[in-house]
């Protein structure tokens, strides 16, 4: 099979069978692309995951672009990424055509009211997991606390500050804190 077609079908299959996205699909990609197809090595797979954590966008996309480029340069990257997205695109598009009619049925609405409770809990849990995973340096703890307080204030007082602006500000503060630490370290070693 030509490489490009193989990439398209393989990633379409992965995109089709990974529920929940993100980390749920890493084992499947590992199994298919490292063990069966031997497109990349295990080490390279780990590298992608690390890169994915430091770059924006869905992890699935990062992986498919990376592996696609390795195997087939730019066309490979494009084809793999399309393959990854296509199944969910078709499924969600079909759902979007029918969802509104579906939501006119009372018990469906009530089921969704229950689901809304779960969604809130899942989001809070995602944050808790990130807090558990992060390195607990004093700077980190202060930054996370400030972020929580700022977000609470933004929500309570309905302030018009977008998350993006906040994120950029924190990135700048992160660099600033690092630069100051660097200077302090430099001074202490001079003495």
């Amino acid at each position: 099979m030509p490489v490009l077609l193989d990439l398209l079908l393989t990633f379409a299959k992965i995109g089709m069978f990974t529920f929940g996205g993100g980390y749920a699909m890493i084992p499947l990609i590992e199994n298919t692309c490292v063990e069966k197809k031997k497109w990349i090595t295990h080490d390279e797979m780990m590298t992608v995951v690390v890169i994915a954590e430091s770059t924006p966008g869905p992890i699935a996309i990062n992986c498919s672009t990376f592996i696609g480029y390795k195997k087939g340069k730019l066309p490979g990257a494009i084809v793999s990424t399309i393959g990854m997205v296509l199944p969910s695109f078709i499924i969600i598009y079909l759902i979007s055509r029918f969802l509104n009619q579906f939501l006119e049925i009372t018990w469906v609405v009530n089921a969704f009211k229950g689901i809304k409770i779960a969604v809130g809990i899942l989001i809070v849990d995602a944050a808790i997991k990130m807090i558990k995973k992060m390195k607990k340096t004093p700077v980190q703890i202060v930054l996370v606390s400030v972020s929580i307080i700022l977000m609470l204030a933004i929500n309570l007082f309905a302030l018009n500050i977008s998350s993006m602006v906040l994120m950029l500000a924190f990135a700048i503060v992160g660099v600033g804190v690092f630069a100051v630490e660097d200077i302090l370290k430099g001074e202490s070693t001079k003495r």
């Binding site: 995109g15 089709m16 990974t18 529920f19 929940g20 996205g21 980390y23 770059t55 924006p56 966008g57 869905p58 992890i59 699935a60 990062n62 480029y69 990424t81 997205v85 199944p87 969910s88 695109f89 969600i92 759902i95 979007s96 055509r97 969802l99 939501l103 018990w107 009530n110 089921a111 969704f112 009211k113 229950g114 689901i115 809304k116 409770i117 779960a118 969604v119 809130g120 809990i121 899942l122 989001i123 809070v124 990130m130 992060m134 980190q140 930054l143 400030v146 929580i148 307080i149 929500n155 977008s162 998350s163 993006m164 994120m167 990135a171 700048i172 992160g174 804190v177 690092f178 630069a179």
Partner: protein, 186 residues
């Protein structure tokens, strides 16, 4: 124009969604609320649907919002734009800047940014729960929903703590759908 709005909105989401699916939810919420594309209810429904269908949550949400607002073309535009930043950033890293993520200033910036994301996600989740329970209207909280929220949270976190078994998100969504039908009526 709706197509341009979708393009810019989801480009922002794709560009700033560091840290996986749940990090994208607050950004998507910002964008869809600012444009009045979805309310909190529909957003929660879509998160649940995205979680229960295959594929990355971010892509699912983009496809849905795009399709609702601009038909199949809107869906295509939103989906492509949400993916585009990740695609190009990976290409850039592979082709020209393989060492950029090891740069200490880039690392420091990302550290600050990730700390910020934790706060954003936590407060977004809490605020969705608070809205859902009617806590925004202090005189008139929705006692039934508050009770159900406490019960479901107890089951979810409790099973992890006491039974050492975590409930996966899809199972939790199914369970809470049943609870919803039972509690709010058929």
């Amino acid at each position: 124009m709706i197509f341009l709005d979708l393009f810019i909105g989801f480009l922002e989401v794709g560009l700033f969604s560091f840290g996986g699916a749940y990090a994208a939810i607050p950004l998507i919420r910002d964008v869809v609320m600012a444009h009045g594309w979805l309310d909190d209810d529909m957003l929660a429904y879509m998160i649940a649907i995205s979680e229960s269908t295959p594929g990355p949550i971010m892509v699912n949400m983009a496809t849905y919002v795009g399709s609702e607002k601009g038909g199949v073309l809107g869906a295509a535009i939103a989906t492509i734009t949400v993916v585009l930043p990740a695609f190009f950033i990976i290409l850039l890293i592979m082709v020209v800047m393989s060492k950029i993520l090891e740069n200490k200033y880039v690392k420091a910036g990302l550290t600050g940014l990730k700390a910020c994301i934790i706060g954003i996600i936590l407060v977004t989740g809490l605020s969705m729960i608070a809205n859902n329970c009617g806590l925004t209207d202090a005189a008139n909280p929705d006692m039934l929903t508050i009770g159900l929220t406490i019960a479901i949270a107890f089951i979810y976190f409790g099973s992890r703590k006491f039974l050492n078994k975590s409930i996966n998100p899809i199972l939790l969504i199914c369970l809470s759908a049943v609870v919803g039908v039972v509690a709010y009526g058929l």
